[in-house]
């Protein structure tokens, strides 16, 4: 066991060495901590799945418990944004890369990340339908109105009008980028998909503390 763990540590260090060169915002030690956290999370997972990486349920748990996210659809979307190769598992590389943006991303990186999250169909555009889907619970419905969704539809139109700079009826990446650069508040325009400062701080404190027993 002792030997295994030593070997494991060696492995982790090597991996950290490579990964920290690929991601922007973590140094080697931090990368190592994240890898260790990742393997810890994997350990809790069933043996069979562990080989592929973190599954959706586990990842959603982290989003919910650690970062306080509540919207099911948003959490699934964030999962998809992390899962770059679309294999329904988050590998250690995807984990470190994803967290780099998620926790410490610059505005540009965050814009890209949020756009990926909101681009539900993955076609490079945020369409009316996608917006409607994401915003469907954002307004109290007036059950008595003829069309209870009228308000939501109106909000979608308002958002589209604000963002669709090239007037093609959908929001492209450059539309989105321009909008957010003009008004940073619209970064998370269609739902909460980034952690707030407080939970980032809490997570980093927890993850980057010196590992016990060393």
């Amino acid at each position: 066991m002792q030997k295994m763990s030593a070997m494991n540590r060696k492995l982790i260090q090597n991996l950290a060495e490579t990964l920290c060169k690929q991601v922007k915002h973590f140094d080697k030690r931090e990368t190592e901590c994240l890898i260790r956290l990742f393997s810890g999370l994997l350990g809790e997972q069933a043996e069979r799945r562990a080989a592929h990486g973190l599954d959706r349920v586990r990842f959603r748990n982290i989003l919910h418990n650690t970062f306080g996210m509540t919207d099911d659809m948003m959490m699934d979307s964030v999962f998809r944004a992390f899962d770059k190769d679309n294999d329904t598992y988050i590998s250690v590389k995807e984990w470190v890369e994803g967290l780099s943006v998620f926790l410490r991303g610059a505005l540009d990186e965050k814009i890209k990340f949020c756009f990926d999250v909101y681009n539900l169909h993955g076609d490079g555009y945020i369409s009316r339908e996608e917006m409607l889907q994401m915003l469907k619970d954002s307004l109290i419905r007036q059950p008595t109105e003829e069309d209870p969704d009228e308000g939501i539809k109106d909000i979608v139109e308002i958002a589209l009008k604000k963002m669709d700079h090239d007037h093609d009826g959908k929001v492209s990446y450059s539309d989105f980028e321009k909008t957010v650069k003009d008004e940073n508040l619209l970064l998370e325009a269609f739902g909460n998909c980034l952690p707030d400062a407080k939970s980032v701080l809490a997570f980093e404190q927890h993850a980057f503390q010196e590992p016990h027993g060393h």
């Binding site: 619209l186 909460n192 400062a197």
Partner: protein
């Protein structure tokens, strides 16, 4: 009303013929058709004879009068019908024709066939040209109706069409009104329903409206000038009203307004609906309403109907009266665990605090409410609600904003942010948009959003509040809703953007007294001062440091607004704001410097700040920024120096830091009056030091200042004249003022009324008068008389200043005695000023009397006016300045008749002896001279001796002042002579 037509028609250039223009033709056709058809439509009225007939030169001939109601005789024709005096109602004696009634006018037109138009033309020309003969009844009637149907819609008064539309709308709103009926169903061709004789008075129609709450029914008359209630039902009820005519109640601009005033129920209902009707009343808007707004109007009505049925209390949101309702975050938010920091916060504590604050303010003397600085006259005080009436035309933005605010009330944070960002896209500087937000309860929502934990919502809300708080009504509402408390607590946030926004919004809101007090009472001053704590800008700042600097800038902005209250100045100082402001003053950023210097100059009204500005080394920075390229900043710097330079050391510092030259340079920017006032103020105060005056001479400031004596606002003039007065301490400047033509404008200013200006002008003129070459000019301009008349000014400061100025005038004027005598009642006036309670007035008048008394004739006159006992009366003073001039006056007044004896009898001698104990050598000199004069009377010598004068005078003899020596010695000699004579008498 005839005048209306005469104005409406277009005259040819020579003014006596009607022009053949399309407008005139239109008017003529209208009149023609009207007149022609009048007889058929209103046979009864048509037969009423005119008071004065219509007369014109007709082209008709007797042959044209084919009808059998006319009797033709040769070339003339008369109607068979006659008035009660037996005159025929129509009489033709070519070319003149006279017509007495509409019936015949009508007939005549029918007879004239193709010449109709020409006849009307001739008739109008003839009548309009000589207004005096104008057709009393006819034209009045004609033009009334004409005005109703043709001119009114252009003038924007009430028109039949507008009334009609409004009534139709009211009829549809059967929910708020029981019934709406016209009194008459018959509609005249002009759209009116009132009978023609009432139309003459502008009446359009009468209505009977049953509301849900007024008793029993409303009888309403719609007139072109407005809508009013008929008080006729009082008569019906027989309440003993004797006046049988209908009395008008108050006139309203439309039916809705009247109903709102009469029926509270209707008003409430109309308010909550933000009635679509409000778009209607203005006649001009009718088209617009029907074509453009019809869809939107329908929509809003519909949606509100739904709301009303289902959530009754929600309606309260739209009522301006129900602001206190605190909105709870939507359920969804709560479920998400995102409820507000104080979501349970009931309206209780806030309003209680407010009440308490108000209470303490009004009841406790010396409480902080009204301890405001002098500089607040420019700020806006709270104004009463100004929008009592419904605006008649609301742009589409109004409705869009209303809709967005509605969404805001039921949105989660994602939708909230979208809506907030969209709201920001409106032109929030526009008042309509600001009030749209307020009118639909948007401010409550925005302020409530500040209470939530979501930073993005806080930011979005503050960004809007910051913009719209430039409106004073919005500011008041934000303060009323407790927004300031929340914003003050937001200042504690670690998020810098949020801090900035909150501080900037506070800066905007705290423009009135109550808001500033609220900021202080909730600990805002301390927090704002803390924001100032950042590194002064160095060459390179990190992004984080730049953000800190921005926070500091916003903090300074808020403090600037707050610093208009005296109490807040003190709070800023106590919170340690002065050293922080001093540090920020080192900044090179103008947007930082302006609020910092603005705050400093505002606070410089307090002595503690003036000392601090000097001791913390801020003068150097203020001087440095005088040379910047921003006029606002320059203005605040100059203003700060103005306020601080009362202190000598500060004045020296300004000079040492080379601040005088930039000040003189700023005088060239004469077009910016605020800057000019501040600059001239600083120059004035700086020139109190002679070293500075020398510098100003070097920079040729006097010539520029003299040039500023004309066409400037008073606040500039006060300072310019003050500066000239100070510069005149150096005698060569007196010549400069004369040579650059300054004396004439100065003397001219003596006839002004501004007291601060008069004090300075009298001083300056007085200074000028010390130059013998200036005096003839002043004399020629009658300056002395003007100065003398200022002795009658109610302000003691002006009186004193004028009296001081009179002294050098008398001294230097040729034939001064004659001049003074020429002022009728002048001597009596100045003697009577010795009754003043003001020490400076007394001293100055004594000085003037000393000068006057040099002329023996005048001395005789003032002696007659009782100057001796009055001066003697003052001798008990302890004020050295007064003592000096009083002694001088006494010395001079002894020269006449028995005055010397009288002073002794009035008890003036003994107190004078005690003046020699004073520490002021100038008092000694004057007193010694007075004593010498008084010692010419033996009794006075005895009194002096008894009071131990000899010992004191012996000390004075040892003085280096030759005049004092001589006077003292002479006085002792007189006493000695008396003693010797006494001895001689005894022994001999």
């Amino acid at each position: 009303m005839g005048l209306t037509i005469s104005r409406a028609v277009q005259w040819s250039s020579d003014g006596d013929q009607l022009e053949n223009s399309p407008l005139n033709n239109d008017i003529l056709t209208e009149i023609l058709l009207f007149t022609e058809g009048f007889e058929d439509r209103h046979p009864q009225e048509a037969s009423i004879p005119f008071c004065e007939p219509l007369q014109w030169n007709t082209s008709l001939e007797a042959a044209d009068f084919t009808s059998d109601i006319y009797n033709t005789r040769g070339e003339s024709a008369v109607s068979l019908e006659c008035d009660d005096k037996g005159r025929p109602l129509l009489q033709l004696s070519p070319p003149a024709i006279t017509v007495h009634s509409f019936y015949h006018l009508s007939n005549l037109l029918k007879l004239s066939k193709d010449k109709k138009m020409k006849e009307v033309w001739a008739c109008l020309e003839g009548e309009l040209l000589c207004m005096h003969s104008l057709l009393y009844y006819c034209f009045w009637l004609l033009s009334c109706i004409f005005v109703v149907c043709v001119l009114l819609p252009r003038e924007g008064r009430l028109s039949p069409a507008a009334v009609n539309t409004e009534v139709d709308l009211l009829k549809r709103e059967n929910r708020v009104l029981k019934s709406v009926h016209y009194t008459s169903d018959y509609v005249f061709s002009n759209g009116c329903r009132s009978p023609p004789w009432r139309q003459m008075e502008g009446e359009i129609c009468s209505l009977i409206i049953e509301t849900c709450d007024t008793e029993p029914t409303l009888f309403i008359t719609c007139n072109t000038s407005g809508v009013f209630l008929n008080e006729v039902r009082k008569l019906i009820n027989g309440e003993g009203v004797e006046n049988s005519s209908m009395t008008k109640s108050e006139v309203y601009k439309d039916i809705v307004t009247l109903l709102k005033n009469q029926s509270p129920h209707f008003a409430a209902a109309a308010d909550e609906q933000d009635f679509a009707i409000q778009d209607v009343p203005s006649a001009k808007k009718i088209l617009h309403v029907e074509t453009v707004d019809v869809e939107e109007t329908g929509q809003t009505l519909k949606s509100y109907d739904h709301e009303e049925k289902n959530v009754p209390e929600k309606l309260a949101w739209n009522k301006p009266g129900s602001r206190n309702k605190k909105l709870e975050p939507s359920l969804k938010w709560k479920n998400l665990g995102l409820t507000s920091r104080e979501s349970k916060k009931s309206p209780g504590p806030a309003s209680e605090n407010k009440k308490k604050a108000n209470f303490s303010g009004s009841s406790l003397p010396g409480s902080d409410d009204f301890s405001e600085s002098s500089s607040e006259d420019e700020e806006d005080e709270e104004k009463p609600e100004r929008r009592a009436e419904i605006p008649t035309d609301l742009p589409s933005e109004y409705w869009q904003i209303q809709k967005l605010v509605k969404y805001l009330k039921g949105a989660n944070q994602t939708a909230t942010v979208i809506v907030l960002c969209t709201l920001r896209d409106f032109n929030l500087v526009q008042e309509t948009c600001q009030l749209a937000i307020r009118d639909v309860g948007g401010l409550e929502v925005l302020i409530n959003l500040l209470d939530t934990d979501d930073i993005r919502c806080n930011i979005g809300s503050l960004k809007i509040l910051r913009e719209i708080s430039c409106n004073s009504l919005i500011r008041q509402t934000i303060a009323d809703l407790g927004g300031l408390q929340t914003m003050v607590s937001i200042l504690d946030t670690p998020v810098k953007e949020l801090k900035c926004l909150a501080a900037e919004t506070i800066a905007n809101v705290a423009k009135f007294r109550r808001a500033r007090r609220t900021v202080r009472q909730y600990g805002g001053i301390k927090r704002l001062v803390e924001l100032l704590d950042c590194l002064p800008d160095s060459v390179s700042l990190s992004a984080e440091q730049e953000r800190d600097a921005d926070v500091a800038r916003c903090g300074a902005l808020a403090l600037w607004s707050c610093s208009k209250s005296t109490r807040n100045k003190e709070s800023i100082r106590q919170a340690g704001g002065i050293p922080l402001l001093a540090r920020l003053l080192k900044s090179s950023q103008k947007n930082m410097l302006i609020p910092v210097v603005g705050t400093l100059q505002e606070c410089a009204s307090e002595k503690s700040y003036r000392i601090a500005i000097q001791t913390e080394g801020m003068i150097e920075d203020l001087v440095k920024n005088l040379s910047c390229d921003n006029q606002e900043l320059q203005m605040h710097c100059a203003s700060a120096i103005f306020k601080c330079a009362e202190d000598k050391h500060t004045r020296d510092l300004v000079r040492q830091y080379d601040g005088l030259k930039p000040l003189v340079m700023l005088l060239n920017k004469a077009e910016n009056k605020q800057l000019l006032a501040a600059t001239t103020g600083a120059i004035w105060k700086c020139s109190i030091s002679l070293e500075n005056v020398a510098k100003f001479q070097e920079y040729r400031a006097l010539e520029i200042l003299v040039g500023l004596l004309k066409d400037q606002p008073e606040e500039v003039l006060v300072n310019v004249v003050g500066a000239l007065g100070e510069c005149a301490q150096i005698s060569e400047n007196l010549a400069t003022i004369r040579k650059s033509g300054g004396i004439q404008p100065l003397v001219k200013l003596l006839s002004g009324t501004n007291q601060a200006l008069l004090v300075n002008v009298t001083k300056a003129v007085g200074a000028c008068a010390t130059d013998p070459e200036n005096m003839p000019i002043i004399d020629r301009l009658d300056g002395v008389r003007l100065l003398w008349s200022l002795l009658k000014n109610p302000s003691p400061d002006v009186q004193a200043s004028a009296a001081w100025a009179i002294c050098p005038c008398i001294e230097n004027a040729k034939d001064a005695g004659e001049m003074v005598r020429s002022f009728v009642g002048g001597l009596e006036l100045i003697v009577n000023l010795l009754k003043s309670q003001n020490k400076d007035v007394l001293a100055s008048v004594c000085a003037a009397i000393a000068k006057i008394a040099k002329d023996v004739e005048n001395l005789a006159v003032i002696s007659d006016h009782g100057v001796v006992p009055m001066l003697a009366n003052l001798t008990n003073t302890v004020d050295d300045k007064l003592r000096r001039y009083l002694a001088e006056a006494i010395a001079c007044c002894c020269m006449w008749g028995s005055n010397c004896v009288s002073f002794g009898e009035a008890g003036a001698v003994a107190p004078l002896v005690h003046y020699l104990h004073s520490k002021d050598p100038l008092v000694h000199q004057a007193t010694a001279r007075a004593l010498f004069e008084l010692s010419k009377d033996p009794n006075n010598c005895i009194t002096m001796h008894e009071n131990g004068v000899v010992k004191l005078l012996l000390i004075m003899i040892g003085s280096t002042d030759a005049i004092l020596q001589e006077a003292a010695a002479s006085c002792v000699a007189n006493i000695r002579c008396l003693a010797l004579a006494n001895d001689k008498a005894k022994n001999g």
